[in-house]
Protein backbone atom coordinates (compact mmCIF):
# COMPACT_ATOMS: atom_id res chain seq x y z
CA UNK A 1 0.00 0.00 0.00
CA UNK A 2 1.10 3.60 -0.46
CA UNK A 3 2.65 5.07 2.66
CA UNK A 4 2.13 8.66 3.74
CA UNK A 5 5.07 8.69 6.10
CA UNK A 6 4.17 12.02 7.63
CA UNK A 7 0.69 11.01 8.69
CA UNK A 8 1.96 7.60 9.78
CA UNK A 9 4.56 9.32 11.95
CA UNK A 10 1.97 11.70 13.40
CA UNK A 11 -0.36 8.86 14.29
CA UNK A 12 2.15 6.22 15.37
CA UNK A 13 5.58 7.85 15.82
CA UNK A 14 5.23 8.38 19.57
CA UNK A 15 4.18 4.76 20.03
CA UNK A 16 7.26 3.61 18.11
CA UNK A 17 9.53 5.85 20.16
CA UNK A 18 8.09 4.52 23.42
CA UNK A 19 8.77 0.99 22.19
CA UNK A 20 12.36 1.86 21.30
CA UNK A 21 12.86 3.58 24.66
CA UNK A 22 11.55 0.52 26.45
CA UNK A 23 13.99 -1.79 24.68
CA UNK A 24 17.08 0.37 24.28
CA UNK A 25 16.90 2.40 27.51
CA UNK A 26 18.82 5.33 26.02
CA UNK A 27 17.01 8.31 24.57
CA UNK A 28 19.43 9.10 21.75
CA UNK A 29 19.58 5.49 20.62
CA UNK A 30 15.82 5.17 20.85
CA UNK A 31 15.27 8.24 18.67
CA UNK A 32 17.79 6.96 16.15
CA UNK A 33 16.13 3.53 16.07
CA UNK A 34 12.71 5.13 15.67
CA UNK A 35 13.85 6.77 12.45
CA UNK A 36 15.08 3.43 11.18
CA UNK A 37 11.77 1.78 11.96
CA UNK A 38 10.04 4.12 9.55
CA UNK A 39 12.81 3.59 7.01
CA UNK A 40 12.08 -0.13 7.22
CA UNK A 41 8.39 0.55 6.74
CA UNK A 42 9.12 2.57 3.62
CA UNK A 43 11.35 -0.21 2.37
CA UNK A 44 8.70 -2.85 2.97
CA UNK A 45 5.66 -0.77 2.24
CA UNK A 46 4.04 -3.64 0.40
CA UNK A 47 3.71 -5.56 3.67
CA UNK A 48 1.98 -2.74 5.51
CA UNK A 49 -1.59 -3.68 6.31
CA UNK A 50 -4.11 -0.91 6.55
CA UNK A 51 -6.00 -2.67 9.33
CA UNK A 52 -3.12 -3.10 11.79
CA UNK A 53 -0.28 -0.64 11.20
CA UNK A 54 0.43 -0.39 14.93
CA UNK A 55 1.16 -4.11 15.18
CA UNK A 56 3.54 -3.97 12.25
CA UNK A 57 5.29 -0.88 13.57
CA UNK A 58 5.71 -2.38 17.04
CA UNK A 59 7.04 -5.60 15.53
CA UNK A 60 9.44 -3.71 13.28
CA UNK A 61 10.60 -1.58 16.21
CA UNK A 62 11.28 -4.71 18.22
CA UNK A 63 13.38 -6.22 15.45
CA UNK A 64 15.31 -3.00 14.87
CA UNK A 65 16.05 -2.66 18.59
CA UNK A 66 17.06 -6.30 18.97
CA UNK A 67 19.50 -5.84 16.12
CA UNK A 68 20.94 -2.79 17.87
CA UNK A 69 21.24 -4.68 21.13
CA UNK A 70 23.07 -7.50 19.43
CA UNK A 71 25.86 -5.19 18.41
CA UNK A 72 25.85 -3.22 21.65
CA UNK A 73 28.44 -3.65 24.34
CA UNK A 74 26.79 -2.34 27.42
CA UNK A 75 25.94 -3.63 30.82
CA UNK A 76 22.28 -4.47 31.39
CA UNK A 77 20.59 -1.94 33.64
CA UNK A 78 18.22 -4.37 35.34
CA UNK A 79 16.91 -7.92 35.19
CA UNK A 80 14.52 -7.25 32.32
CA UNK A 81 17.30 -5.59 30.37
CA UNK A 82 19.61 -8.54 30.97
CA UNK A 83 16.91 -10.88 29.75
CA UNK A 84 16.36 -8.77 26.67
CA UNK A 85 20.06 -8.73 25.83
CA UNK A 86 20.17 -12.52 26.15
CA UNK A 87 17.23 -12.84 23.80
CA UNK A 88 18.79 -10.35 21.41
CA UNK A 89 21.92 -12.46 21.25
CA UNK A 90 20.09 -15.76 21.05
CA UNK A 91 21.11 -17.96 18.15
CA UNK A 92 24.87 -18.27 18.53
CA UNK A 93 26.57 -21.41 19.70
CA UNK A 94 28.30 -21.76 23.04
CA UNK A 95 32.03 -21.87 23.85
CA UNK A 96 32.12 -18.39 25.23
CA UNK A 97 35.65 -18.80 26.48
CA UNK A 98 37.31 -19.33 23.14
CA UNK A 99 35.57 -16.75 21.00
CA UNK A 100 35.44 -13.02 21.23
CA UNK A 101 32.17 -11.39 22.12
CA UNK A 102 32.17 -9.51 18.87
CA UNK A 103 32.60 -12.69 16.89
CA UNK A 104 29.78 -14.34 18.72
CA UNK A 105 27.62 -11.33 18.04
CA UNK A 106 28.36 -11.56 14.35
CA UNK A 107 27.56 -15.24 14.35
CA UNK A 108 24.29 -14.43 15.97
CA UNK A 109 23.49 -11.86 13.35
CA UNK A 110 23.81 -14.60 10.79
CA UNK A 111 22.28 -17.38 12.84
CA UNK A 112 19.63 -19.46 11.18
CA UNK A 113 17.13 -19.25 14.03
CA UNK A 114 13.92 -17.62 12.82
CA UNK A 115 13.77 -13.95 13.70
CA UNK A 116 10.27 -14.49 15.00
CA UNK A 117 11.61 -16.60 17.88
CA UNK A 118 13.20 -13.49 19.32
CA UNK A 119 9.99 -11.53 18.87
CA UNK A 120 7.98 -14.29 20.51
CA UNK A 121 10.42 -14.38 23.40
CA UNK A 122 10.30 -10.64 23.95
CA UNK A 123 6.52 -10.59 23.81
CA UNK A 124 6.21 -13.39 26.33
CA UNK A 125 9.09 -12.86 28.73
CA UNK A 126 9.48 -9.10 28.62
CA UNK A 127 6.10 -7.73 27.60
CA UNK A 128 4.31 -10.39 29.63
CA UNK A 129 1.83 -11.37 26.97
CA UNK A 130 0.23 -14.74 27.58
CA UNK A 131 0.92 -17.60 25.18
CA UNK A 132 -2.51 -17.05 23.65
CA UNK A 133 -1.84 -13.34 23.17
CA UNK A 134 1.57 -14.02 21.66
CA UNK A 135 0.08 -16.59 19.31
CA UNK A 136 -2.50 -14.05 18.20
CA UNK A 137 0.16 -11.36 17.64
CA UNK A 138 2.46 -13.51 15.53
CA UNK A 139 -0.21 -15.55 13.76
CA UNK A 140 0.88 -18.91 15.10
CA UNK A 141 -0.77 -21.64 17.13
CA UNK A 142 -0.27 -21.67 20.88
CA UNK A 143 1.56 -24.99 20.58
CA UNK A 144 3.83 -23.47 17.92
CA UNK A 145 4.67 -20.57 20.21
CA UNK A 146 5.26 -22.94 23.12
CA UNK A 147 7.63 -25.01 20.99
CA UNK A 148 9.67 -21.97 19.97
CA UNK A 149 9.93 -20.81 23.57
CA UNK A 150 11.01 -24.27 24.67
CA UNK A 151 13.93 -24.15 22.24
CA UNK A 152 14.95 -20.77 23.60
CA UNK A 153 14.59 -21.90 27.18
CA UNK A 154 16.83 -24.89 26.58
CA UNK A 155 19.56 -22.57 25.31
CA UNK A 156 19.01 -19.86 27.90
CA UNK A 157 18.16 -21.69 31.08
CA UNK A 158 17.94 -18.47 33.05
CA UNK A 159 14.58 -17.83 31.43
CA UNK A 160 11.53 -18.43 33.52
CA UNK A 161 7.94 -18.70 32.35
CA UNK A 162 5.14 -21.00 31.58
CA UNK A 163 6.54 -22.22 28.26
Amino acid sequence: MAVDIESLYRSHGPMVLRRCRRLLREEAKAVDAMHDVFVEILRRKDSLRADSPAGLLLTTATHVCLNRLRSAHREPVDQDDELLMQIAGFGGEGDAESRSLARRILDRIFAAEPESTRLISVLHYLDRLTLEEVASEVGMSVSGVRKRLRVLKERLPALKGEA
Binding site: R10, H35, L42, G55, A102, L106, D127
Partner: protein
Protein backbone atom coordinates in the same frame (compact mmCIF):
# COMPACT_ATOMS: atom_id res chain seq x y z
CA UNK B 1 -14.87 -15.41 29.08
CA UNK B 2 -13.94 -14.65 32.68
CA UNK B 3 -12.69 -11.14 33.40
CA UNK B 4 -8.90 -11.02 33.76
CA UNK B 5 -7.39 -8.85 36.45
CA UNK B 6 -3.73 -8.88 35.45
CA UNK B 7 -2.23 -5.69 34.06
CA UNK B 8 -2.71 -5.16 30.35
CA UNK B 9 0.69 -5.31 28.64
CA UNK B 10 1.89 -2.02 27.16
CA UNK B 11 2.06 -3.72 23.77
CA UNK B 12 -1.66 -4.46 23.75
CA UNK B 13 -2.54 -1.11 25.28
CA UNK B 14 -0.65 0.69 22.52
CA UNK B 15 -2.45 -1.32 19.88
CA UNK B 16 -5.77 -0.67 21.60
CA UNK B 17 -5.10 3.07 21.77
CA UNK B 18 -4.14 3.05 18.08
CA UNK B 19 -7.43 1.36 17.19
CA UNK B 20 -5.47 -1.60 15.93
CA UNK B 21 -7.18 -4.48 17.74
CA UNK B 22 -9.97 -6.64 16.45
CA UNK B 23 -13.44 -5.92 17.77
CA UNK B 24 -13.25 -8.87 20.14
CA UNK B 25 -9.81 -7.94 21.46
CA UNK B 26 -10.80 -4.29 21.83
CA UNK B 27 -13.92 -5.22 23.82
CA UNK B 28 -11.91 -7.46 26.12
CA UNK B 29 -9.28 -4.77 26.62
CA UNK B 30 -11.93 -2.15 27.43
CA UNK B 31 -13.39 -4.47 30.02
CA UNK B 32 -10.00 -5.18 31.56
CA UNK B 33 -9.17 -1.48 31.70
CA UNK B 34 -12.46 -0.72 33.43
CA UNK B 35 -12.18 -3.65 35.82
CA UNK B 36 -8.72 -2.62 36.86
CA UNK B 37 -9.37 1.12 36.95
CA UNK B 38 -6.59 1.60 34.44
CA UNK B 39 -8.21 4.10 32.10
CA UNK B 40 -5.65 6.73 33.23
CA UNK B 41 -3.04 4.75 31.28
CA UNK B 42 -4.82 5.79 28.09
CA UNK B 43 -4.72 9.44 29.15
CA UNK B 44 -1.03 9.05 29.90
CA UNK B 45 -0.44 7.70 26.38
CA UNK B 46 -2.27 10.67 24.87
CA UNK B 47 -0.18 13.08 26.93
CA UNK B 48 2.99 11.26 25.92
CA UNK B 49 1.98 11.45 22.25
CA UNK B 50 1.61 15.22 22.47
CA UNK B 51 4.90 15.59 24.32
CA UNK B 52 6.84 13.50 21.81
CA UNK B 53 5.35 15.22 18.77
CA UNK B 54 6.22 18.59 20.29
CA UNK B 55 9.82 17.54 20.93
CA UNK B 56 10.23 15.65 17.65
CA UNK B 57 7.85 17.30 15.19
CA UNK B 58 7.18 15.66 11.82
CA UNK B 59 8.87 18.58 10.06
CA UNK B 60 12.12 17.47 11.67
CA UNK B 61 11.70 13.72 11.70
CA UNK B 62 10.19 12.99 8.29
CA UNK B 63 13.00 14.54 6.20
CA UNK B 64 15.53 12.50 8.15
CA UNK B 65 13.52 9.32 7.56
CA UNK B 66 13.36 10.12 3.86
CA UNK B 67 17.08 10.90 3.75
CA UNK B 68 17.92 7.56 5.36
CA UNK B 69 15.52 5.68 3.11
CA UNK B 70 17.09 7.24 0.02
CA UNK B 71 20.59 6.40 1.28
CA UNK B 72 19.53 2.82 1.96
CA UNK B 73 18.01 2.50 -1.50
CA UNK B 74 21.17 3.84 -3.12
CA UNK B 75 23.27 1.41 -1.16
CA UNK B 76 21.02 -1.51 -2.00
CA UNK B 77 21.24 -0.81 -5.68
CA UNK B 78 25.02 -0.51 -5.40
CA UNK B 79 24.90 2.20 -8.03
CA UNK B 80 26.42 5.04 -6.10
CA UNK B 81 29.01 6.73 -8.26
CA UNK B 82 29.52 9.43 -5.65
CA UNK B 83 31.62 11.63 -7.80
CA UNK B 84 29.97 10.93 -11.10
CA UNK B 85 33.15 10.06 -12.92
CA UNK B 86 33.36 7.83 -15.98
CA UNK B 87 34.25 4.19 -15.49
CA UNK B 88 37.68 4.53 -17.02
CA UNK B 89 38.51 7.66 -15.10
CA UNK B 90 37.36 6.21 -11.82
CA UNK B 91 39.25 2.96 -12.32
CA UNK B 92 42.42 4.90 -12.93
CA UNK B 93 41.68 7.18 -10.06
CA UNK B 94 40.95 4.22 -7.81
CA UNK B 95 44.36 2.77 -8.51
CA UNK B 96 45.94 6.13 -7.84
CA UNK B 97 44.05 6.35 -4.62
CA UNK B 98 45.30 2.94 -3.52
CA UNK B 99 48.81 4.21 -4.06
CA UNK B 100 48.08 7.46 -2.27
CA UNK B 101 46.75 5.71 0.77
CA UNK B 102 49.56 3.21 0.86
CA UNK B 103 52.26 5.81 0.44
CA UNK B 104 50.72 7.85 3.17
CA UNK B 105 50.00 5.28 5.81
CA UNK B 106 50.93 1.80 4.68
CA UNK B 107 48.46 -0.99 4.17
CA UNK B 108 47.84 -1.21 7.90
CA UNK B 109 47.86 2.27 9.27
CA UNK B 110 49.83 2.96 12.42
CA UNK B 111 48.93 5.86 14.65
CA UNK B 112 51.22 8.82 14.83
CA UNK B 113 52.83 9.50 18.24
CA UNK B 114 50.30 12.24 18.91
CA UNK B 115 47.41 9.91 18.18
CA UNK B 116 48.90 7.12 20.21
CA UNK B 117 48.48 9.06 23.40
CA UNK B 118 44.76 9.29 22.71
CA UNK B 119 44.25 5.84 21.25
CA UNK B 120 44.56 2.52 22.93
CA UNK B 121 48.20 1.57 23.23
CA UNK B 122 49.18 -1.44 21.15
CA UNK B 123 46.08 -1.39 18.98
CA UNK B 124 45.54 0.19 15.58
CA UNK B 125 42.11 0.74 14.06
CA UNK B 126 41.11 -2.12 11.83
CA UNK B 127 38.32 -3.31 9.63
CA UNK B 128 36.84 -6.80 9.73
CA UNK B 129 34.88 -8.38 6.92
CA UNK B 130 32.76 -11.39 7.80
CA UNK B 131 30.98 -13.56 5.27
CA UNK B 132 27.76 -15.35 6.03
CA UNK B 133 28.08 -19.13 5.92
CA UNK B 134 25.62 -21.93 6.56
CA UNK B 135 27.10 -22.43 10.01
CA UNK B 136 27.29 -18.75 10.92
CA UNK B 137 30.04 -16.55 9.59
CA UNK B 138 33.72 -16.54 8.70
CA UNK B 139 36.28 -13.78 9.00
CA UNK B 140 37.75 -13.01 5.59
CA UNK B 141 41.49 -12.54 5.20
CA UNK B 142 42.89 -9.85 2.90
CA UNK B 143 42.68 -10.96 -0.72
CA UNK B 144 40.13 -13.65 0.11
CA UNK B 145 38.00 -14.69 -2.84
CA UNK B 146 34.41 -13.57 -2.84
CA UNK B 147 31.63 -13.77 -5.38
CA UNK B 148 28.41 -12.12 -6.40
CA UNK B 149 25.67 -12.85 -3.87
CA UNK B 150 27.98 -13.31 -0.87
CA UNK B 151 26.51 -11.62 2.19
CA UNK B 152 29.11 -9.58 4.01
CA UNK B 153 29.00 -7.95 7.41
CA UNK B 154 31.52 -5.24 8.16
CA UNK B 155 32.83 -4.54 11.62
CA UNK B 156 35.49 -2.23 12.95
CA UNK B 157 37.83 -1.83 15.87
CA UNK B 158 38.26 1.88 16.53
CA UNK B 159 41.12 1.40 19.00
CA UNK B 160 40.20 4.68 20.63
CA UNK B 161 39.77 6.78 17.48
CA UNK B 162 36.76 9.03 17.70
CA UNK B 163 35.61 9.46 14.09
CA UNK B 164 35.55 7.15 11.11
CA UNK B 165 34.39 6.47 7.59
CA UNK B 166 34.10 3.06 5.97
CA UNK B 167 33.80 3.03 2.21
CA UNK B 168 34.39 0.60 -0.59
CA UNK B 169 35.28 0.94 -4.24
CA UNK B 170 34.95 -1.72 -6.89
CA UNK B 171 36.77 -2.16 -10.17
CA UNK B 172 34.11 -0.13 -11.95
CA UNK B 173 35.02 2.81 -9.76
CA UNK B 174 31.75 2.75 -7.86
CA UNK B 175 32.27 4.13 -4.38
CA UNK B 176 29.87 3.03 -1.67
CA UNK B 177 29.65 4.49 1.78
CA UNK B 178 29.05 1.98 4.55
CA UNK B 179 29.63 4.20 7.58
CA UNK B 180 28.00 6.66 7.59
CA UNK B 181 25.61 5.50 4.89
CA UNK B 182 25.31 8.84 3.17
CA UNK B 183 27.71 11.72 2.52
CA UNK B 184 28.33 13.99 5.49
CA UNK B 185 30.43 14.19 8.63
CA UNK B 186 32.42 11.10 9.61
CA UNK B 187 30.57 8.83 12.01
CA UNK B 188 31.28 8.87 15.72
CA UNK B 189 32.96 5.58 16.59
CA UNK B 190 32.44 3.30 19.54
CA UNK B 191 35.92 3.42 21.04
CA UNK B 192 36.37 -0.12 22.32
CA UNK B 193 36.00 -3.62 20.97
CA UNK B 194 34.78 -4.84 17.62
CA UNK B 195 31.57 -3.20 16.46
CA UNK B 196 29.40 -4.57 13.68
CA UNK B 197 27.74 -2.13 11.30
CA UNK B 198 23.97 -2.05 11.44
CA UNK B 199 23.39 -3.76 8.10
CA UNK B 200 24.94 -6.67 6.24
CA UNK B 201 24.93 -6.39 2.45
CA UNK B 202 25.12 -8.57 -0.62
CA UNK B 203 27.92 -8.28 -3.16
CA UNK B 204 26.91 -7.32 -6.65
CA UNK B 205 28.37 -8.54 -9.92
CA UNK B 206 31.13 -5.94 -10.25
CA UNK B 207 34.19 -7.89 -11.48
CA UNK B 208 37.81 -7.84 -10.32
CA UNK B 209 37.98 -6.69 -6.75
CA UNK B 210 36.21 -4.98 -3.91
CA UNK B 211 38.35 -2.70 -1.83
CA UNK B 212 37.26 -1.57 1.63
CA UNK B 213 38.87 1.28 3.54
CA UNK B 214 38.39 2.38 7.12
CA UNK B 215 39.61 5.92 7.68
CA UNK B 216 39.79 7.17 11.25
CA UNK B 217 40.73 10.35 13.05
CA UNK B 218 40.48 12.01 16.40
CA UNK B 219 38.98 15.19 14.99
CA UNK B 220 35.85 15.49 12.83
CA UNK B 221 36.33 15.09 9.10
CA UNK B 222 34.06 14.52 6.12
CA UNK B 223 33.19 11.58 3.90
CA UNK B 224 34.18 13.79 0.96
CA UNK B 225 37.80 13.63 2.19
CA UNK B 226 37.69 9.86 1.80
CA UNK B 227 35.82 9.91 -1.50
CA UNK B 228 38.39 12.32 -2.87
CA UNK B 229 41.29 10.13 -1.76
CA UNK B 230 39.60 7.12 -3.31
CA UNK B 231 39.42 8.84 -6.67
CA UNK B 232 41.56 11.55 -8.07
CA UNK B 233 41.56 14.00 -5.20
CA UNK B 234 44.23 14.86 -2.68
CA UNK B 235 45.59 12.17 -0.37
CA UNK B 236 44.31 11.92 3.16
CA UNK B 237 45.44 14.40 5.75
CA UNK B 238 48.28 13.34 8.02
CA UNK B 239 45.89 13.44 10.92
CA UNK B 240 43.92 10.53 9.46
CA UNK B 241 44.75 6.84 9.37
CA UNK B 242 43.56 4.37 6.80
CA UNK B 243 43.18 0.62 6.99
CA UNK B 244 42.23 -1.31 3.91
CA UNK B 245 41.21 -4.77 2.83
CA UNK B 246 41.00 -5.89 -0.77
CA UNK B 247 38.88 -8.91 -1.67
CA UNK B 248 39.21 -10.65 -5.02
CA UNK B 249 36.05 -11.14 -7.00
CA UNK B 250 35.56 -14.57 -8.57
CA UNK B 251 33.83 -14.61 -11.90
CA UNK B 252 31.04 -17.20 -11.94
Amino acid sequence: MATRYDKIPDWLLERFAAGDLSERQAKETRERLAAQGEEPRLAALAASNAEILAALPPERVVPEIERRAAARARKASRAVPLLGLSAVATCTAGLLAILALRVHHGTVAMPSPAQESIGIRGLAPSLRVHRKTKAGSELLAPRARVRKGDTLQLGYVAAGRRFGVIASIDARGTVTLHLPESPGPAAGLEPNGERALAHAFELDDAPGFERFVFVTGDAPFHTADVAAALTSGPPLSDSLSAFEIILKKETP
